[in-house]
Symmetry: C2
Subunit: 343 residues, 2 copies
Amino acid sequence: MTKPPNDTRRPLTLRDVSEASGVSEMTVSRVLRNRGDVSATTRSRVLEAAKQLGYVPNKIAGALASQRVNLVGVIIPSLGNLVFPEVLAGISDGLEGSGLQPVVGVTDYSPEKEESVLYEMLSWRPSGVIIAGLEHSEAARAMLINAGIPVVEIMDADGEGVDSVVGISHRRAGLQMAEAIVTAGYKRIGFLGSKMPEDHRARKRFEGFKEGLAAAGLSIADEEFYGGGSALAKGREMTQTILTRSPDLDFLYYSNDMIGAGGMLWCLDTGYDVPNQIGMAGFNGLRLLDGFSRRLATMDSCRREIGLKAAEIIAGVPHSGMIGGEKLVLEPVLQMGDTIRKV
Amino acid sequence: MTKPPNDTRRPLTLRDVSEASGVSEMTVSRVLRNRGDVSATTRSRVLEAAKQLGYVPNKIAGALASQRVNLVGVIIPSLGNLVFPEVLAGISDGLEGSGLQPVVGVTDYSPEKEESVLYEMLSWRPSGVIIAGLEHSEAARAMLINAGIPVVEIMDADGEGVDSVVGISHRRAGLQMAEAIVTAGYKRIGFLGSKMPEDHRARKRFEGFKEGLAAAGLSIADEEFYGGGSALAKGREMTQTILTRSPDLDFLYYSNDMIGAGGMLWCLDTGYDVPNQIGMAGFNGLRLLDGFSRRLATMDSCRREIGLKAAEIIAGVPHSGMIGGEKLVLEPVLQMGDTIRKV
DNA sequence: GTGAAAGCGCTAACAT
DNA sequence: ATGTTAGCGCTTTCAC
């Protein structure tokens, strides 16, 4: 394979391949897309020329002409949180074989940024959009409705979607965890979470959690919130802080596994008897934490499957018909781990 | 903000805005792009009409006409490994304000997939490509050279690049770690890593490491490799395995911090005296691990800065001139942590 | 099985 | 400050 002789710095076009092979542009196009009937000889002659020249088709022109773009916009709040790359992995799997490619946009949990990222994406006329959460600005919702393409809102099932929805009920997840804690006999419960008002899923879990406690006549005894930084380190710090302030707490509910793991490390280092003296639980079911000596109680957020299903919905929608409106609510499984005492 | 009255399911065009506002398509285009002089009145009339209709420009057509695409292709091996999202964050920062947007492609460490992802990306005629590593297939190299756009190969500086290069010398990183270990007086050294033949950076670190040991008349006493799974858990398992097989090892060098942390947890749980009985070190400088009770010795891989600089190179290249060929070698800092004994 | 013509929705370049 | 014309590189459609 020698270096293609593209001396002129002008990108190669179909016409170049056409001239090099002595075949019309149209037929070259057919060969390169495996469309229509082309004789074996013409076919191989074209492929030879294309390879020889190092021709790379121009999808921009192709997309404009065909009104077809094999891209799926994926909009998520962050890449720093382990959870989202896993959703992406699921999406990537779900798109496998469909010819569609994900294009990722990150919002940093900012509604304004979400709006601009969405606008940017839609301007490339993707075949579909997968977007985290159900809460969007008015303008963003309008764009999603108006885009005329399948939209899947993922990760959250507590609310109304624009089109299709794939997620779990975070409210119910919080509620179920509260029930498990109450059943185990814990009474003085602390909550530790992030102070991101725009993390609606964390907020809903917290609300469901409080609701579950309330049903048993209990409420949050103390709470602690954090901003940026290494989640593990923050979990450690916050745990020390809250237990110093409220030494009588017998359970700590963390809004995610990373801070929960940090808290667990601190409790074990400090000599707490987990789960008898103090119980603890997180959220997400992060496999990352499998290597710890104790397994933190948690609840799987089904993120890989969510990505997979969302992608399948996009990939499965026929090019014209677009029915949509599916709502798929997955059921997370409570994993008791080693940090909730047996009843 | 009422729902835009786009009754016909046909996407809106510039012409629609033109008709709605009574301004020529060309002037509408100018307004929407803030290009050229437009009177304040026409301007506001156009913006009003565009907003009213919910018009989203078609970048495909725009790109085709202007031969300008504000996209930067970013090709990385994986999203599951913490390291790459951090590089992405750096790229995202470096692109800030340039008007360029990253489009991410994942190769799963497969040269074939890298080739197809690259082909796919180039077919969108991006303004530049940032790609992990210096090792590519012949065809991939040819595409990169032939693309006629700035290319930045990142993360590795041990070798020749196609155009610009931003990275660290993994060989030197391994070598320096070996020197630190030798200096601390360790003699019986084990290596634990992944068995990914395509992870050239890990391979180079290992080679540099062995070279560093050799310079002191030492060599690897035992080694252990792993495949998939939770890295923390694997680090734990492998550490048990290698120390059972070779109980006389006094140092363990891990190819990354996650397996190193797993190993550290196991050693501490098992009652090893770290760092006196056994020392250990990883690689990457993961801040994620800040919450552990001991800090693992490690070496910063400068991944955020690598992303930042690579993006700046792409963003800084003038639209035509394309000089390129920069090579930026960053210097990782050795962090001794708590797992190498003081001399 | 192959080719010619028209045009996708925009913007560069040139009017005015 | 605004409008007109001619394409960008491909694919659709229709002809042969």
